[in-house]
Symmetry: C2
Subunit: 645 residues, 2 copies
Amino acid sequence: MQHSIATVSLSGTLPEKLEAIAAAGFDGVEIFENDLLYFEGSPRDAKRLCDDLGLKIMLFQPFRDFEGGRRDKLQHNLDRAERKFDLMQELGTDRILVCSSVQPDVIRDDAVIADDLHQLAERAAKRGILVGYEALAWGRYVNSYRHVWDIVKAVDHPNLGIILDSFHTLSIKDDLSRLSEIPGDKIVFLQMADAPVLAMDVMEWSRHFRCFPGQGEFDLPAFLAPILQSGYHGPLSLEIFNDGFRAAPTRITAADGLRSLLYLEETTRQALQASSANLENAKSAEALFAPPAPSRFDGVEFLEFAVDDDAARRLATWFQKLGFAHAARHKSKNVDLYRHGSVNLILNAEPDSFAHAFFVAHGPSLCAAAFRVDDSRAALERAKLYRARPFESRVGPNERQIPAVRAPDGSLQYLVDKGLDGRSIYDSDFDPLPGGVAAAARTTLSAIDHFALGLPAETLDTWSLYFRAVYGFEAEHEWVLPDPYGLVKSRVLRSADRTIRIPLNISENRNTAIARSVSTYRGSGLQHVAFAADDIFAAVAAAREAGLPLLEIPRNYYDDLAARFDLEPAFIARIAAANVLYDRDPDGGELLHVYTEPFEERFFFEIIERRGGYQQYGAANVAVRLAALAQTRARAGQRGASWAD
Amino acid sequence: MQHSIATVSLSGTLPEKLEAIAAAGFDGVEIFENDLLYFEGSPRDAKRLCDDLGLKIMLFQPFRDFEGGRRDKLQHNLDRAERKFDLMQELGTDRILVCSSVQPDVIRDDAVIADDLHQLAERAAKRGILVGYEALAWGRYVNSYRHVWDIVKAVDHPNLGIILDSFHTLSIKDDLSRLSEIPGDKIVFLQMADAPVLAMDVMEWSRHFRCFPGQGEFDLPAFLAPILQSGYHGPLSLEIFNDGFRAAPTRITAADGLRSLLYLEETTRQALQASSANLENAKSAEALFAPPAPSRFDGVEFLEFAVDDDAARRLATWFQKLGFAHAARHKSKNVDLYRHGSVNLILNAEPDSFAHAFFVAHGPSLCAAAFRVDDSRAALERAKLYRARPFESRVGPNERQIPAVRAPDGSLQYLVDKGLDGRSIYDSDFDPLPGGVAAAARTTLSAIDHFALGLPAETLDTWSLYFRAVYGFEAEHEWVLPDPYGLVKSRVLRSADRTIRIPLNISENRNTAIARSVSTYRGSGLQHVAFAADDIFAAVAAAREAGLPLLEIPRNYYDDLAARFDLEPAFIARIAAANVLYDRDPDGGELLHVYTEPFEERFFFEIIERRGGYQQYGAANVAVRLAALAQTRARAGQRGASWAD
């Protein structure tokens, strides 16, 4: 299908926006009038710019408060429209969006409104223009697509049709059943927007919190599928009002926009197939984006840290205290494998490598994660079709090239499968060290349960969409958590089978632990790695014996735990003695977990035991961890600079 | 009255919070349980900390979901309460807040709830504890103070009373008429919070957007006055959940909190006097804070810029192009007066002065503003009582010490009156320059209409409260305006007679013009000065002749203006030729204004003509100015660094 985006969705001046839109691969744009208003060139200049960039101007918008106004204003309103038609001719576009009136004194009479729109359509016909009438969710009288459609049908003019916008329909939880009765050729334009589910005034919600499909929580395939079935084959367009987008880098937002439309196409195709709907009319359904299906994942194969020799020694000490053995050394590079049971951590200190560049930019940090997939070639193909940038590393003779892509922050994600020869990547690329395997055989940790990233606040939507589109991950509902110095938002992206879970954490303020982490890394970075244990007490005992610095939990936490849950005093005493935190979900699932102190103020480790199907992350305990950390810092006299300093 | 604040209102660890609360001058605190939970000491340690700081622990809170629960849980809930009573005894506090249940299965029966609360009160009585029952606005069954009061009356137990919270009452626009029937001694505690008026879910509103009295839009005196009349003489306490406060410097927030309670006392006293209410019972009304009344203002006497000799020359050039003459030189300092009619601008390049320190820290910038008042001594006294920091400058022989205070960013605000001798401050401190007065006599500008400040986002509440409390200014409703690289919020603080108007502008994002300005100044700073003109065209003609660089407005703006308003083509041609922007208010008042280009990317000037009682600031045109500026910058290839760089 053709892809379009409204200029209002991006930051910057009109030329900056158009260049980014073309670079992302869109076919066309909706010109939002204000962007033109503040453009220093003429409308003809704007058209020339679009022509040069290969962009079609698909729509001009919005034209407000036209229909059902005071009768003595009708002539003025029609004149006003003629001026906009002039402007459209200069722009070379033939479609205009007329949104339903928000005037308090709008005439609440369909016949009057139909008559006004008829007059407008007559004038449009003389200019070869198509008028699209759209319901604003907060329109004073007309506020649903159903009402618009009734009026458009009544006017029955070839130059008047309907414009559908997913936000205005889904935000008011409107009945979708009549979408399929609108013939495709009466749909002048189709705007797609997602949004997080928020309990707030719909206009404010619309104007500040819309997001790209796949970044929010709306069921967009349920909206789009019947429209495609009714024969619509025009463009899919994005019209997003979002405070974050207004401040985000233009090109990145535009690239996200295109990816979101591909994702919308794929998920809508799946919905159409699942419903075994009659696809005869949905010609455009055939044209929907169809990448290879998402991989079946089987956990995190390894995490790789960028280090130099010195940082490698420091971090290796931590790994060893966590029970990891130095298991192997890379055949041709300054790279070491640490292993505990089937859990792998890699330290990469190779000069002139990708990891080295990462180390120089960010210090000791997570530079790559490897996911176990069933078919790495198909996984890479899917990622590339979703515009992820592939990465090929320098390999030595007989070493394996592992398929990889760059995540939004430039770190790598490897896609590892069993391969045709059944040998592991370590067999081909590493020399085992004597004793390493034996030492790592006494296992208390069974897997990487999850690893959390701290992100710059404005990148959360980019990351969410990336994981959903590129890997078919699912996004869990967002949590807001208190930090002693601000609020932190957390959203988990995970594979369908939950073998890979990646909490993404952001902070709007700059004094929180997350903000500090983002600042430390100069970008996004690892916040913590959580290892799964079958027996948390055994794991803690082993870790303590090895000298792992566990975070001390205030006694008051356990007193309160006793008041909150019916727990045996002996059990509370046991977890308190081990600094183990506790959480329980409504179904009785339980979480027991411990945190380490941070490694050089960068990241920390967690050991967790899930009992009885507990699927969360102990969010209730995050505050006590942050407070304990803050106290550690306060003791050390560290605190973020304040604006009053 | 006594002043208290809930620990949840501030950022930081418990010790940091308590120290800031004591330093601000509060008498006591509400201990919010989570703060204790994350405190590494025991409750006894927390009490000792408070004792050492001279703070009384006035309340322990919250105790949730107690009443009307499942019958088989009642014993557990009572046990839970006993544990909290233990904790309260260690803390040495005798009051606990029980908030109404939010459980979906709460028993909707007043008799059951009353019985539960009776049992709780009986247990509390044995421990010498007072239970305060409070309605959450989103309580599942009990959600208004009126319902709480009915139940508390029915229980009729000496150890059970009501807790009132202004947010929970005003947010649901509850009927206030029954507040006066609650005897003062049945009010266990009184919590005061303000909030901006927002159309959103009340719980979200409450948890993220509360603010201190005087920072929001609630009519708090209408809430507090009847409570005082009913004989309440306990403390006024602040319980503020606010995302900004969670991230703001603890001590500044605490100081704002105390100032806000003083302001609440003053405005409530005024409300009581205005209502000529029966004050017999309102003993505490006598104790309400009573500073000297706000000044009568008469405009801005001068604006003073911190410069060095070089910056003085550059800025003087701009002043001269604006029509200002070099009118006088300070008798003992490197300070110059520029004058246009009755408008005064001062350049201060004196070494070792306050202005010099300001220049070193912020570059060429606004370091002081002088307000004309009727009685500068009373104005200073009021400011000091509101905890503003007075400032005394070094004066030479026979020079006048002008009363001054420091604004929240450390800049000065002078309070200038006619003085007893009738001589102006310039007569006593300056030597007039020959020709200066004559040159400045050809006036096109009549006054400083307003001057706008760009602030770090988290300081807006501090500044709003400062102007309202210290000067009795009024706060206008907040505007949100688009910038090409983000959104900008603007709130005007002004004197009652509008002779002083100060728009305060903030940006949450870091790429907007405001954010750039804040970054340039390393703090808050002048964004622009708007001069009033009686004839904008004459003023523009004079400015052009003098070579003042006016901002060029895109032609498309004027085309759209013609579509929006019924304006004569000749008029539009005239304003377009002069780069004059236009706005009209619903009552027909008109604004005509021009902008200059920015002075060294720091601030700019505006010339405005108000017609027909127009009282706004041309917000509709801010976007075109910002876009025009952004285009100027884009042409110059400047753009904020992005996170993806």
